[in-house]
Subunit: 383 residues, 2 copies
DNA sequence: TTGAAAGCGATACCAC
DNA sequence: GTGGTATCGCTTTCAA
């Protein structure tokens, strides 16, 4: 049924010397058998042994010649290489990997928006995280495999993954459990300490939130509206915790507007609720990722002048923040650095063997722009 | 050096019955050997033969039991499954793939921004294309491997790819040539007709451009500014060709402002140049992907009222278009459909064997919104 | 210097 | 029904 390459008159290497000519008599398809031979077939791939026969050498020699290993005479090496090149030989990657015992493949899945998978790719945070992960992986000789979150776990079981990144895992995420149970190292952006094979990259959302609130207070804010998702995501939970605590400590009023569903539209609606009521705040901190220019536009629609009537800070990775009018202060969690740190952890495990479950912390970055500076720009300290 | 799993006292299956107990005496590391044994090692993976020995059955039987193939008694099947489960057995994906003759992996590379790789992932078009491709691939039982475009070809040679998607290939792209030469089917968004293993998905940019210009003319435009990249990309070239031809035919003035470098900032600068001069156009068609809200904001800055003084159409996939003020008319090339069509072509080749080089065409979609309707919204026909 | 043979781990024949 | 055996294509050890 699922039978792989089948060759007519195929010879084992042992017999290659006696009966076979330079090339075997006939090949069947490399791809699946086509019933009735309707479609043309892809040319069969040239194997190492084909090259060996053609060159009148052994598999071993060709392999060594091509890989630059072993001690071969220059002539033999050149001859082997030339023959391989002429025949269009390409080593079978799967076979090499099997031999090597690894796949050099790292899976990448985003879990937060499991129910609304199309959403996450629209968010700069995930986009940048994905892209940076792919880069980092490649720099370490690995490649990233996208694991769309809407697929059942079994769909991935057949993938030869050396390790996986699970972004925004759910609490006790079955996916994480499963990979861990399979002995596949997992890196997440949530602490999973103590689990064999579990690694994580952390962001101190608590400190970051306090940093933003401090900044706003320093700029004169006395009534801060916060827009945050009420998903179970760590960052949201930590942000709210920090906000409550900070508010109590400092005696500055903060209020929270929740965003229940993912996506720009609901988030924007929450922003409007937060600033649209009769009880007008003098500062706004949008934790949910929304387009910063849209936020200031909304503020403008509601009669605010940013930053005079309303200080605005967005937790966002959107490059457009600096193009808004006024440019918007952003809190970045630095996805590129998170990605690099996560991949690094994984690669270390993969390349150097098992080490204790551990994590790394990536700092956030508050980029202060005009939207949160009541004093003229020059007075603010960037960074 | 790169030695794979090495087991102390490893037994071949043939000898399994005589000397070996239920489990082999000792295992070395599954991962690389750790010099000095400093770090703990990952537990060795359980192999089919380990399960077989433990269950007192043969590899074949366990395999059949687990895969639901063969004719096995219910007891044996249950016993095999139970043992496998208890031992935490996970089949080695690489081995299966080698046996199966395919990897179920599709590579995905974006070529347009080879020199500025960080740019493309910021653009909704590529983001959506990537995501939709991953989805489509997975729906067909394949997974997508991200191939960052800044890496040299050799980095990818080790990946067991069944096929690849090359987005925005350069003319005679060496990467495409190489994959084709290796016998790997390639799908691109540019016509590659006649090349064995070459498939493509097309967009009729010419017709799309004319459609936009017709729409603008219909709304009263008499002097249309076009902002387009002067990269060699097909879509840009076709758009400019169509524009020149349309302009000549209709006797309506059009002028082009080029964008030399990729990214939002240069594009936005080009928009400003296009509308900022003393010679003010009455319509603007932005072919380069820029944030639509940013475009109308720029227009406003330059004293235009959209759509009264300036009709605006953007070729963009940005969801924010409808949130701009006014909502912006967009020309979408429908990346999700392009992705689906491309993956479908590939999967057909992979699953059904070689068929002639061929392509598919995906229509564009003009979503008319207030920004390009001089007449009140109700008068416009959506779609 | 070169090559035969033994695997990597799993699947599918084909006898028993 | 069950299990031995040959492969998938390649790398590496080890003997010649």
């Amino acid at each position: 049924m699922d039978e792989p390459q089948r060759r007519v008159g195929h010879q084992t290497e042992a017999r290659s010397g006696d009966a076979a000519g330079p090339r075997p008599p006939a090949y069947a398809a490399t791809r699946k058998h086509t019933p009735g031979g309707r479609a043309q077939q892809l040319a069969p791939r040239v194997r190492l042994i084909d090259v060996a026969r053609e060159a009148g050498l052994s598999k071993t020699t060709i392999s060594a010649a091509l890989n630059g290993t072993g001690r071969l005479s220059d002539e033999v090496r050149a001859h082997a290489r030339e023959t391989a090149w002429r025949m269009g030989y390409r080593p079978n990657a799967t076979a090499r990997l099997l031999r090597a015992g690894h796949s050099k493949l790292i899976g990448f899945a985003v879990r937060e928006y499991v129910e609304a998978p199309w959403v996450y790719m629209e968010l700069p945070y995930f986009t940048q995280l994905t892209n940076a992960s792919a880069r980092a992986a490649l720099e370490h000789g690995h490649a990233l495999v996208l694991l769309p979150n809407h697929a059942p776990r079994e769909e991935w079981a057949d993938l030869p993954l050396d390790a996986v990144c699970i972004v925004d895992p759910m609490p006790d995420d079955p996916l994480v459990e499963d990979f861990l149970a399979a002995g596949t190292p997992v890196v997440t952006d949530r602490r999973v300490e103590g689990r064999r094979g579990g690694y994580w990259v952390e962001t101190d959302y608590h400190a970051a939130t306090r940093g933003v609130l401090d900044h706003l207070a320093e700029q004169g804010a006395r009534d801060i509206a916060i827009v945050a998702p009420d998903s179970g995501a760590v960052y949201a939970r930590d942000a709210l915790l920090a906000q409550a605590q900070w508010s109590a400590e400092r005696g500055i009023r903060t209020r929270v507007e929740n965003v229940a569903t993912p996506g720009y539209t609901p988030a924007l609606a929450a922003v409007e609720r937060a600033i649209g009521g009769p009880d007008r705040p003098d500062a706004l901190f949008v934790v949910t990722e929304v387009s910063p220019p849209m936020v200031v536009a909304a503020a403008r629609r509601h009669g605010y002048t940013v930053p005079d009537d309303l200080l605005v800070v967005c937790a966002s990775e959107d490059a457009l923040a600096e193009h808004a009018e006024p440019p918007v202060t952003t809190l970045s969690t630095q996805p590129a650095r998170i990605a690099a740190a996560g991949i690094k952890l994984l690669v270390e495990v993969l390349d150097d063997g098992y080490t204790e479950s551990r994590g790394a912390e990536v700092p956030t970055r508050l980029v202060i722009r005009a939207s949160s500076l009541r004093t003229p720009l020059s007075a603010g300290r960037p960074g």
